[in-house]
């Protein structure tokens, strides 16, 4: 059976909702620190209770990322990560029964070929792609390609987005809407921005899609707080930090803590 038919983003959110909780989304770059280790790390995230994994495609100029992820993708690139590594990690996540999506800056996808990337990702079991520097205006050819290959194009909204833009972005997004909690780059923060609840409320007026909140989330308490008003909680830099500091056990432990968090808040 084709895993993309049974394990979709929509089904994952619906499942979490039926359990009265928010969905836990975790990010790690493919090939960090090496390809083999990155597979073990995402498996640890799966085992620890992450419901959906964002497999990062390492890119040389990640202008939406803070120092933690910058260093991680630098290391991955130094160790030879390519889009093919991403497909390998996506396969490993799908094999674990967890929903894989890719998070990639635009140029690597454009160079891979929009159609090719969508097709190969589908074959690997990937079901969505988050593109943090692709605007919906530039993204129309991509949106068309994703439809053919049952890939959900996931766009971001930000606190600065006007209602008009939120409306347009929700129209072109499938799977879930990624709400950037704050004006800034990725990286753990002591407090999740108070702009996030207001943004989620605004987005709800335009869509029935699930809304996940990311940027700055690092612990179970923050996850619980976000789970009160959002459908999903996205954690990135904190997983990278855990991987650097304590490898597989630390990543599994963080996943467990966050998984408890999303169950407390929902």
């Amino acid at each position: 059976m084709n895993p993309t038919k049974t394990r979709t983003i929509g089904a994952a959110f619906a499942n979490a909702k039926s359990e009265g909780r928010a969905l836990l989304i975790g990010y790690l770059p493919a090939g960090f620190p090496t390809l083999d280790e990155s597979i073990e790390l995402v498996q640890a995230m799966c085992d620890g209770g992450v419901d959906l994994i964002e497999v990062g495609l390492p890119y040389s100029d990640p202008l939406m990322d803070g120092p933690v992820i910058q260093q991680a993708v630098d290391q991955a690139l130094t160790n030879g990560a390519t889009p093919l590594s991403v497909l390998t990690v996506v396969r490993a996540v799908a094999d674990r029964g967890v929903v894989p999506v890719v998070m990639s800056y635009w140029n690597p996808i454009e160079q891979f070929g929009v159609e090719n990337f969508a097709r190969e990702l589908q074959e690997a079991g990937g079901v969505g792609v988050i593109t943090p520097d692709l605007t919906i205006e530039e993204g129309q050819p991509w949106i068309a390609a994703t439809q053919t290959h049952e890939i959900d194009p996931i766009f971001l909204v930000a606190p600065s987005s006007t209602n008009d833009r939120i409306n347009k972005i929700c129209h072109d997004t499938r799977g879930f809407v990624y709400a950037a909690s704050t004006m800034g780059v990725t990286g753990a923060r002591d407090q999740v921005s108070n702009m996030a609840p207001e943004l989620v409320a605004r987005v709800r007026e335009y869509t029935d899609l699930p809304i996940a909140v990311g940027l700055g989330v690092s612990n179970g308490a923050q996850a619980a707080e976000i789970a009160k008003y959002a459908d999903g909680v996205i954690v990135g830099s904190a997983f990278v930090k855990a991987a650097t500091a304590g490898g597989v056990p630390a990543v599994r432990e963080l996943a467990q803590e966050l998984a408890q968090g999303v169950r407390q808040g929902g």
């Binding site: 890119y59 100029d61 390519t82 889009p83 140029n107 520097d133 605007t135 600065s160 004006m183």
Partner: protein
Amino acid sequence: MTTSEVEDRAVIAGHFGPYGGRFVPEALTSALDQLDTAFQAAIADPDFAIQLSGLERDYTGRPSPLTRAWRFGAYCNDAHIYFKREDLNHTGSHKINNALGQVLLAQRMGKTRVIAETGAGQHGVATATAAALLGLECAVYMGEEDTRRQSLNVARMKLLGAEVISVTNGSRTLKDAINEAMRDWVASVDTTHYVLGTVTGPSPFPDMVRHFHSVIGRESREQILAIEGRLPDAVAACVGGGSNAMGLFSGFMDDPNVQLRGYEAGGDGVETGRHAARFSAGSPGVLHGARTYVMQDKWGQTIPSHSISAGLDYPGVGPEHAWLHDIGRAIYEPVNDSEAMEAFALCSRTEGIIPAIETAHGLAGVIRLGKELGPDSVIILNLSGRGDKDVATAARWFGIELEHSESGISVELAEGR
């Protein structure tokens, strides 16, 4: 992409054929929309034009002269070579034109802080200067490698009251400084305007930066008509991001008989892989918010560029140049470090003008161009900057010993002692 799609895109604002556009985090989209609106309103407002042209005249020292380079021209097959003397502007390069325009616009938008990226330091100095003049806070991002080779400009920025932030990630050059400036801007956009220093980046930057430099082309056109009584056969400039070239080219865009020539950094030689020759060895891709020619590997990872000139050491190029290249309106050629430095020496000795090393690439191009177009052809080169900042690099290149350890001085200045 099909032909009709290309044609469709050509008419979408902010695009140049398939190039340009906006590839940015959503957090910046509203800011870019506001900037575009403010820019369009400003250029339609006679008061803004009066304010800007007043500063250009009384502060920058415009119009800049168009100087016949008689003795240098003798090495260019006796072509009539004219230098558009942007080196004589306040702060020593063309960069002040754009910095004043954008900082004035930032002030008009109610921003209290400006940020900038800089490679050679000229744009950083120009922005720090404009910010000092207009009373705005200023921070400049500069690759660590560039702070080392352009330490005098680091000191100038600090003396002008700007904060200089040394960027230590990636290749530690201009590309990484732009990444850091963008990251700052995403978080600070409410109070801060990003004074992008060249005709790259997301829309509306390429249009806006060209607009503020178009004074170069306008003046040059009037001046050459007054002197020679005819239009030039070619106008030429070095091309890093391409702002000085775009400023000059814009004055002659609609004159089909005027050739547009750009010279990019060939570094150690295009065949060595150590260069910044985007048109010779790059391909269309997306970098820093725009689709353009990019030095990249087959996976779309940016390949670090190399040039003796910090200002040309950039793996992307302005999207309008990409379009002009594709449609054949402009021709771009690489110039190696050694050829540029020969032209640097020749210009210094024949004209008494020490050019910026960036500009020296254009000078080398003009020597070729004179041979190609023949004696009595009329060629304008944008003499985009003066070489004071490059004295240490040039001295090292030509084996001239400096009496004081130049590194000793620069370290002290750079650290603000």
